[in-house]
Assembly symmetry: C2
Homo-oligomer: 444 residues x 2
Amino acid sequence: MDTVFCNVTAVTMDDQMHVLPGAFVGVRGGRIAYIGRHMPSEPVKEAIDGTGMVLMPGLINAHTHLPMAPLRGWSEDKPLQPWLESVWEIEARMDERTVRNATLLGIMEALRFGTTSVSEMYDHIGAIAEAVAQSGIKANIARGTTMFQGDEFDFRTFPGCVELREAVEQWHDYDDGRIRIEASIHGEYTSTYQLWEALATYAAEEGLGMHVHLSETKKEHEESLERNGLTPAQVLDCHRVWDVRASAAHCVWLDEEDMGMLSRRGVSAVHCPVSNLKLGSGIAPVVRMRAEGMNVALGTDSVASNNNLDLFEEIKLAALLAKVQTGKPDALPAAEVLKMATRGGAIAQGREDECGQIALGMDADLILLDFTKTHLIPCHDVISQLVYAASGHDVVLTMVRGRILYRDGQFPTIDELAVLQELAGYTIPTLFDPKDDESTPTEG
Amino acid sequence: MDTVFCNVTAVTMDDQMHVLPGAFVGVRGGRIAYIGRHMPSEPVKEAIDGTGMVLMPGLINAHTHLPMAPLRGWSEDKPLQPWLESVWEIEARMDERTVRNATLLGIMEALRFGTTSVSEMYDHIGAIAEAVAQSGIKANIARGTTMFQGDEFDFRTFPGCVELREAVEQWHDYDDGRIRIEASIHGEYTSTYQLWEALATYAAEEGLGMHVHLSETKKEHEESLERNGLTPAQVLDCHRVWDVRASAAHCVWLDEEDMGMLSRRGVSAVHCPVSNLKLGSGIAPVVRMRAEGMNVALGTDSVASNNNLDLFEEIKLAALLAKVQTGKPDALPAAEVLKMATRGGAIAQGREDECGQIALGMDADLILLDFTKTHLIPCHDVISQLVYAASGHDVVLTMVRGRILYRDGQFPTIDELAVLQELAGYTIPTLFDPKDDESTPTEG
């Protein structure tokens, strides 16, 4: 046995939502190989004391843009249009090297807060894949593609499609599927049917997933109704975008018909509550989507609209918003939200047989949380504690496929200082910009 | 000089919201005695390196019930009535000793997350005051009093009023005002006009503040309209409850007339966004209350409806909810929310000349945050970082009146282990209750 977590409280996230106190969970060859009440009888390379700790499946961040890490706090409290313009100002300056380092910065943050797998959507995805490969984290990486009315389109030469095909050749199923490349239509409002059909066809031929921003804002949703006589979900359906496993990020403005159709088509919604509030987009109808049978996962979106990658914030906020939205405190119980952040994400990523639970044979994608701090005492209910009282800051160890990628402030696979130094030369100003110093106070 | 924070980025929270990089902030006799660009020339007992750190005024939690710490996670995802009943089940078992220790547990959590002053409302307030006195934190402590139709009422003998008068004699203005005792009507719906008038008169005579739960739920608000033909705010106004400095917790359902009247009467609203979402109460009209001229502070409420005392969560959520509620991303900018959590709280507590800013002569109620972690890099804007990306977990030091009460996981004034052992015998089950273990998994 490579590693055993000893005397830990294991939250399995299986169908019965077992919470096992005093458990021993063993890892062999990157997979969960033992769950019991005693040390396994075979030799153990590393025993990790889990006394006072909770072990659970790693969280899955099903919608993010990691390379936007340098944009954290860059442009705040602004309406969408000026916000986008100031974001584009920075993005225009980002090259492959910046994207690779920015992705590593984002991965460190994700790992530190207990995320073991991400669904990424951006460009320069070769550079993103390099960072993911190095770090050891799991990722579905989608090449978010836009195409505007009047753009010449030929799938063989259109830049976003060329980049996607190259990434599929080089990176799809890398490291036994740790990396998966996906197709991505950035959004209905930022592309045309030629792109939708070409990507839908290509994804179906290559067995790729699809990742789309869907009905994030009321404006986007209503303009599609005006332009197409159909909602964004419906018009994309007509062009066979949902023929493959697909994730639809946001889904704030879906109507009942959309929900029924997306449910039948097996599309996962990715709820990004912090981002949707921060940009004033609205509150997604999570309880209704689930009632229609849709799988709902959770995502942070980028740090430009969040401003961190702590998915525990999404977990708590998803639970809270459902209560106030429906007026029913039991509309979305704690256990269900925790499932959205683990198994729901695994389903969205097409990884439900691989991770999202502590079960024999699953990948050892695990996180350990320190439950001995004052804010987690007493502990009447481990699940409620994880959802309402804990934070990503309580994570002390993050493991993907049996490899420890974060432990007590350290990232064994990433040179943190080198990443920060690389980024300093590109887009990051000094930690505290002198422009903040508007005047000099007097002395006493 | 007793203590100097050296080379720190100081967020002053003064009217100009200065952010001072490379600052030196000195403390003498419990007060801020120096703000400059160099070490002060007089001898310094302790120099604290603030490189990569942010120093700001301590947060003020303007509505909480610290002794409810043992109820964290006790009763989850339930409608109000069964929730209240299960809470009362525990509360009936709490005596003075439990309250004192539970308050110490709550104070540790508050300090750990950067709170330097709390507005408390509960009973057994003598025991609460003992815990506050020992710990060094600042507190306004209100004796939340209920009185139901049919109860015999005589101010001289009514138990809640007796307890209040005893606490005023023993504890009001203790330690040069570090503790202040306040009168408190628990709520319009849990008392009658005899109590309102008696407490309003007593508070005015003794120069005490007043702390009330106000229009938290739609039911409470509408039943007052039915019963009195007046909103809770209006009926309490008729009985002179707002004659003294007063805090009104929640204010979710205030109407425009309430806001105008409470503004003219100088009543502070205390916004508790997490608790209001968790109990499905609604979203308080913060932007409208501020537009009417009301001071708005922030509170966590108790851990039974939160479930932690990290006021940074309220800061972020208050900013986010205002955006989605108004549809305007700039409706409540980051700096304004940070003011609510500091100066707004100081105003609510009647302490605006004493704390809430880094300024010469103010009490040294200060917190230090570590800004060198991946989730706080880069830092384009310190204020936005504090509001949207930081967490109470980033606090590494909490000081009240120049005394360090929390530093790097340690509480110099509180014996953490003794508190936990005391509570174990009362209401806290073992950390992980064996009842959670419903079955035994198999081994692999």
